[in-house]
């Protein structure tokens, strides 16, 4: 039994913060959105809409910021290493992610016993991070399409026309909420299934010792449990 | 022998073609064709039981209220829901308002031009017109202004909706004074406002007219308040007053000039009504205008919805079977060609007990008369004496009788509607009015039988898995404009046209009169 060290270089502080903001706004948006879809109890619509409109901007600005920062902030190239490179390179699929695709799948379907070595994050995990971006933008697009101050802009009108109007767009937005919730569940599962160390790092920025890897993701010593 | 075609027959709801054979100045055969197919029943299938109310009332923009009510009733019957007293009254008031609206619109806007020549009205002497109005006991208004407006219209040549009318037609009663023509034209304009006020009652209680919003399964979503009821009552009293003091006197003033219309246009002599305006028992035969069937002489029997069947031999459907009950029938639309010897209509030949039965105000009023509904008996007896036919209700089975029955029904319904509003007000005094029964969507089958101003309407619904599985409508006009059945027996309007005098085959005025008298 062994797992990699979790060093702060893997998630520089700004990303810990952006992740927190992501999490909070998603929870706020999902709860308020769910209420807007059907107000299960009375007295909350004004607040729910206020929350939704506030956090939708927070979410979009935060995500945009996260992407921009990826080009400037350096983060660890792999877990269990303090060697860093521009974050975007570690965020997009790395060479080893591509090569190890089969190995990861085999591992998760129990056809492979030992834990694959990889680049930063497992392949599935990385896939789910990257999916966050288009999914959030889809959420934002479908959301703005039913947001009366902007819905008559040509950009949104085109989408409305495509799906035959706001009645359908509203349902698509609602549907996407479910996709997002399912996606987040998978993401949280994958991130934590092998122990809470990753969560302690991303939420509390706490380090934990463990296996050490070089910048290419090959074992380079370190403590084992 | 000549074939004469009127297509389109205007001043009706929808699209109708009337073709007749004329021999020796008289119609000897007739074919009536509904020329539009839309297939509403298929649109409703698979949707929620409540959705049928919104969609199916759009079959007809002139009687949406009746279709809407029949649809809601069919859903309620299918799911075993009963409605509270308050909802019964609200529905009666809304339906009553539509009757008022529809009958006023029919008599003045649609039918009057068959009996009143606007050009003849120009010869009227304004002072004499006032005198005549007073003598006839009908409403006076600014007859001079109406005459000027009419003159302006005729003189400048842009006739708008009067373009190509049959002015000066010999079938206009030659002895009817110009002053009476002017009175009728003035009331033609006034009626436009009065019918709109009737529609406003529906605007208040139903959200809008045509196509109202408030008849939901289990009751109504209209919540009566003092100020709304006051708006309703005020309008109904005004309309009621107008009907009694203008519309009925106009009818009685004009009718004597068209007494020949007692001699043709009668038709099959067989009548059907499902009845309309529920009393607390919700029984078809105790409705304010009760249900009934007249199949043999002037005798009423109780109506049986199981006896309705539809033939398609002369309609553009290629169904495997014909003569089926509407809830079993299918509708496979398949246009072939217009051929009076074969298929010639989108309308199916709907029959009651395999016989062509007329529906509409004449049918309802006769049934109410025979069932002993007192106010109806008083109205009819009074009119019969005025026409010099006291004690002979059978003379009403004619063109003139059909027109008169509709106008008398307007007077009856006007009183009833005012009465129901008063009942709601009384109920509110005593506390609250129940308007809705909570319920769940259940599977089952049911039907709603009701009356539109123009005749009997039935909706049949089957709910399966919470959705509409089958939906069928027998619309009022379908009864009257029915084509021939399998044995070649003519439909009610076709039959009524037989024997109609035609003075000018280019302009068969009487044919139009008879066809329009059904308010198709």
């Amino acid at each position: 039994m062994a797992h990699p060290a979790h060093y702060r270089e893997a998630h520089p502080l700004v990303f810990v913060i952006t992740h927190w903001i992501n999490l909070i706004s998603m929870v706020a948006l999902a709860c308020s959105g769910f209420y807007i879809h059907y107000p299960f109890f009375s007295g909350f619509m004004g607040v729910a809409r206020g929350m939704h409109f506030f956090f939708m901007y927070v979410l979009i600005i935060n995500l945009t910021l996260r992407i921009v920062l990826a080009f400037f902030v350096k983060s660890a190239t792999v877990l269990g290493s303090r060697e860093v490179d521009t974050d975007i390179k570690n965020w997009l699929p790395q060479k080893a992610n591509v090569h190890q695709f089969g190995a990861w799948i085999k591992y998760y379907t129990f056809f492979k016993k030992d834990h694959p070595l990889g680049a930063k994050y497992g392949v599935l995990q990385k896939g789910s991070y990257i999916l966050t971006v288009p999914l959030t933008f889809l959420m934002a697009y479908t959301g703005f399409c039913i947001y009366s101050p902007v819905m008559d802009w040509g950009f949104f009108q085109a989408g409305l026309n495509l799906v035959n109007g706001p009645m359908n767009m509203r349902i698509i937005h609602y549907f996407c909420m479910w996709v997002f919730i399912i996606f987040t569940a998978i993401h949280a599962y994958l991130a934590n299934v092998e122990g809470v160390a990753p969560s302690r790092l991303i939420f509390a920025w706490k380090e934990e010792e463990g296996l050490h890897f070089d910048a290419d993701g090959n074992p380079a010593g370190g403590k084992s449990h | 022998m000549a074939r004469v075609v009127v297509d389109p027959l205007t001043r009706i709801e929808g699209h109708l073609r009337v073709e007749v054979e004329v021999n020796g100045g008289e119609v000897t055969d007739a074919w009536v064709s509904g020329t539009l197919y839309r297939g509403m029943e298929k649109v409703v299938q698979g949707r929620d039981p409540q959705d049928a109310f919104y969609i199916s009332q759009r079959i007809c923009g002139v009687c949406p209220i009746s279709h809407g009510h029949a649809s809601t009733m069919s859903a309620e019957a299918a799911m075993g829901i009963s409605i509270p007293e308050g909802a019964r009254l609200v529905r009666n008031i809304i339906e009553g308002a539509q009757f008022l609206h529809s009958h006023i619109l029919w008599f003045y806007t649609l039918a009057a031009l068959d009996y009143v020549d606007p050009v003849k009205a120009l010869e009227a002497n304004v002072a004499d017109t006032y005198a005549l109005a007073q003598a006839a006991g009908t409403g006076a208004c600014d007859f001079g202004a109406v005459k000027d407006r009419l003159a302006g219209l005729v003189n400048n040549g842009q006739l708008s909706i009067f373009s190509n009318g049959w002015f000066g037609h010999p079938d206009y009663a030659a002895d009817m004074p110009a002053e009476l023509h002017l009175i009728a034209v003035a009331h033609y304009l006034e009626a436009l406002q009065i019918q709109a006020e009737a529609a406003q009652v529906i605007g208040i209680m139903g959200g809008k007219f045509p196509h109202f919003m408030t008849s939901i399964n289990g009751g109504t979503s209209f919540v009566p308040t003092e100020e709304k009821l006051d708006d309703v009552l005020f309008r109904l009293l005004k309309i009621n007053n107008w009907v009694k003091n203008t519309m009925i006197p106009d009818t009685l003033a004009i009718a004597p000039f068209y007494k020949d219309a007692l001699g043709f246009g009668g038709g099959t002599g067989k009548f059907l009504a499902w009845g309309v305006f529920n009393d607390p028992s919700f029984d078809l035969t105790s409705r304010y205008l009760p249900g009934g069937a007249i199949l043999d002489g002037l005798k009423v029997e109780d109506p049986d919805p199981a006896k309705v069947t539809e033939y398609v031999e002369h309609s553009w459907y290629d169904n495997a079977e014909s003569n089926l009950h509407p809830s079993e029938g299918e509708a496979n639309a398949k246009y072939t060609e217009y051929n009076t010897d074969d298929k010639y209509s989108w309308g199916k030949a709907v029959r009651y007990d395999e016989q062509p039965t007329e529906v509409g105000p004449l049918s309802r009023m006769l049934i109410a008369y025979l069932r002993g509904v007192e106010p109806v008996q008083d109205l009819i007896d009074g009119t019969l004496s005025a026409l010099g036919a006291a004690g002979k209700p059978e003379v009403l089975v004619s063109l003139l009788g059909r027109v008169a029955a509709r106008n008398l029904e307007t007077a009856y319904v006007g009183d009833l509607t005012v009465g129901w509003v008063t009942e709601v007000i009384e109920a509110m005094k005593g506390g609250s009015v129940d308007l809705f029964t909570e319920h769940e969507i259940k599977d089952g089958s049911g039907y709603g039988l009701w009356e539109a101003p123009r005749g009997s309407v039935g909706h049949w619904m089957t709910v399966k898995g919470g959705k509409i599985d089958r939906y069928n409508v027998v619309a009022p006009t379908t009864w009257d404009i029915a084509p021939r059945d399998r044995d070649g027996v003519r439909g009610p309007m076709e039959e009524a046209l037989i024997g109609t005098p035609v003075s000018d085959v280019e302009k068969p005025m009487n044919v139009c009169r008879v066809a329009r008298s059904f308010d198709p």
């Binding site: 549907f175 | 079959i59 406003q200 605007g203």
Partner: protein
Amino acid sequence: MAHEDHGAVYDLLKSRGVSRRDFLKYCGSLAAMLGLSEAMVPQMVAAVESGTKLQPALWLNGGSCSGCTESIAQVDTPDVASIVLDLLSINYFETIMMAQGDDAEKAAEETIKEGGYILIYEGSVMTGQDGNALVINGRKSTEILAEAAAGAAAVLAVGSCAVDGGWVAAAPNPAGAIGVQEFLTDEGISTPVINLPTCPVNPEWIVAMVVDVLLLGKLADGSILDELDDFGRPKLIYGQSIHDNCPRRGHFENGEFVYQFGSEEEKKGYCLYPLGCKGPQTFTNCPIVRWNSRSGWCIEAGSPCIGCGSANPTKHGGNWVDVGTPFLNRHRDLPLGGLGNTAPGTVAGVVGGVAGAALVAHGVGMKVAGRMDGGADYEPMKAHDAKKMKKGGGE
């Protein structure tokens, strides 16, 4: 042409028994109705007085229920008599015209020959049964429309049916109903179309268009077309949602809702949102102009809006029935073109349930495999590199 050259429209009105005082009052009420300032009245008067003759028009019924005709008969400022006698010369109007049969058709023919008319079309365009779903006077209604539209100055498609087929075009669209705009595009007819959806059309909007054309000269200078949105609807009328202008909006924001007909909340006039009100997604000014001479409108009478003004003239499937049913529900299915309907809640529930179950099962597997705490032991070298080595590759 007997009526070529007569004086100003005002003279015409005068000759029709309308006094100058009445006329000014009438212009004033029109201005108020349009939300124009009283200061516009002299300008409107001038516009009318310089006119030459009544604007000719044709009102054709396609696959209609005559409800839009009924609707225009309810208008009171001006009333329908003024519209058909003093403002427009509607030479063909099936439901109320005096003439019938061939004589009626002749009135239409003559108007088409003269040109310069406005075509008002009510009802859907019936293309089903090869155009035989509606035949008038021996001609397919589609043929009649094509001819009348080609010669018109503009087409007013009144009511949702004329805009995109309306309920008649709702799945499975048994009679092949489509909207006027689509039909004209298919036929290559370029006459501009102004779309006025709702079922039926609200008569105030027809009057607004008549006023735009007659009093403000907006058709002559083309400006009427600049004021249309992407769906050919006048922005002034269709620019805001029912929800934006609904008198119950305060209750919506307060979260005061009617959850059940017959409830105390219903009596208090709370917001109908949970009962499926389509006001937030429906764009018309119903709450402002209201219906039946302002006597009421849907939500005031206690009914949720069913979105009868939703229409998409550029595309199939946007008719108000297909996008709005089930009318009294907030939840609804998502139509997937020809593939039927999906219920997002159900699909999400099923997919979510499956995903959740899979995660749990997987988690159990991970536990059993002993991978839960810290994961399995790491492979000594990447599987990819190992494979390469076996093949004799590698550096």
